[in-house]
Symmetry: C2
Subunit: 135 residues, 2 copies
DNA sequence: CGAAGTTACATGCACATGCATTGGATGTCC
DNA sequence: GGACATCCAATGCATGTGCATGTAACTTCG
């Protein structure tokens, strides 16, 4: 590979890193300050709201998120402790756990979502396109 | 802001998140497996190599990296423990610490750099993918 | 049925990070 | 010069994460 190509890739990586760091930091802080939840918690709530059934198995949730199984387990535990989700047994497969949004969870998400949109709009303004690439 | 605009921003954020997660995870794993250093350590070495003087104050290093002051302090401590950098007093300002690359550090960086380039090339391929390659 | 293997989730542990604080060195203002 | 604010780096502490493991439930094969 040419040096020029390598340099371009490295530059792209640095842009990606810079962009991610800035946005995730701002987002996490805003969510924490305004709603008492972190980015991971918000993402989990978001996935639950997206799900039409609003009741998903841990395993399926994990597939949508960039968290390890253990991290997700604890994230859901925090959400449950906060009363934002509930865990219910799944009769079809009793190893599995259904995670369900509570009313409080739905409300909190609706509020947090506004914060999230605001932060994203501020930092990912539809200016020139940011770093991006295939995974 | 319009719903369409919001959606575009959110989609951009998800792409960014996906891309960052994939690349940083792969990179960290590759560096750790092949060279026994993590991403932060590599970044620190990289900044030191970039610096023409190859001797930078902690504070300056911190400015270039997306790490808190304390995290950088510990990162440098790990690098020092591994013999890859040295800390020397700065006579001009005795609060400051000069971080200097050791010969071992320079070598390790040279090797790790190849790994980094390979991983970045694989995941951030600069090839003109048709339209978008968003994950 | 029953044993071995697999899957889903929780948990012990190690570790990296951020925040707040500390300790020491500089700078400033009187 | 002396008191006070500021700055640099290190560290105590709380927290979130991943890996390895534990436990229970499901599956497969004999």
């Amino acid at each position: 590979m040419s040096d020029a190509g390598e340099e371009a890739v490295v530059r792209r990586w640095r842009d990606l890193l810079a962009c991610y760091s800035t946005v995730s930091c701002a987002l996490d802080r805003a969510l924490q300050d305004a709603h008492g939840i972190g980015m991971s918690e918000f993402e989990a709530l978001d996935r639950l709201v997206d799900a039409t059934c609003e009741q998903r198995r841990m395993h399926d949730l994990a597939g949508d998120m960039y968290l390890s199984q253990s991290a997700l387990s604890r994230t859901v535990a925090r959400l449950e402790r906060a009363g934002l989700v509930g865990r219910t047994m799944c009769d079809d497969d009793r190893r599995a756990i259904f995670v369900t949004l509570t009313e409080a969870g739905r409300e909190r998400h609706a509020q947090a979502r506004r914060t999230q949109r605001a932060v994203l709009a501020e930092h990912l303004a539809p200016e020139p396109e940011p770093a991006r690439a295939g995974a």
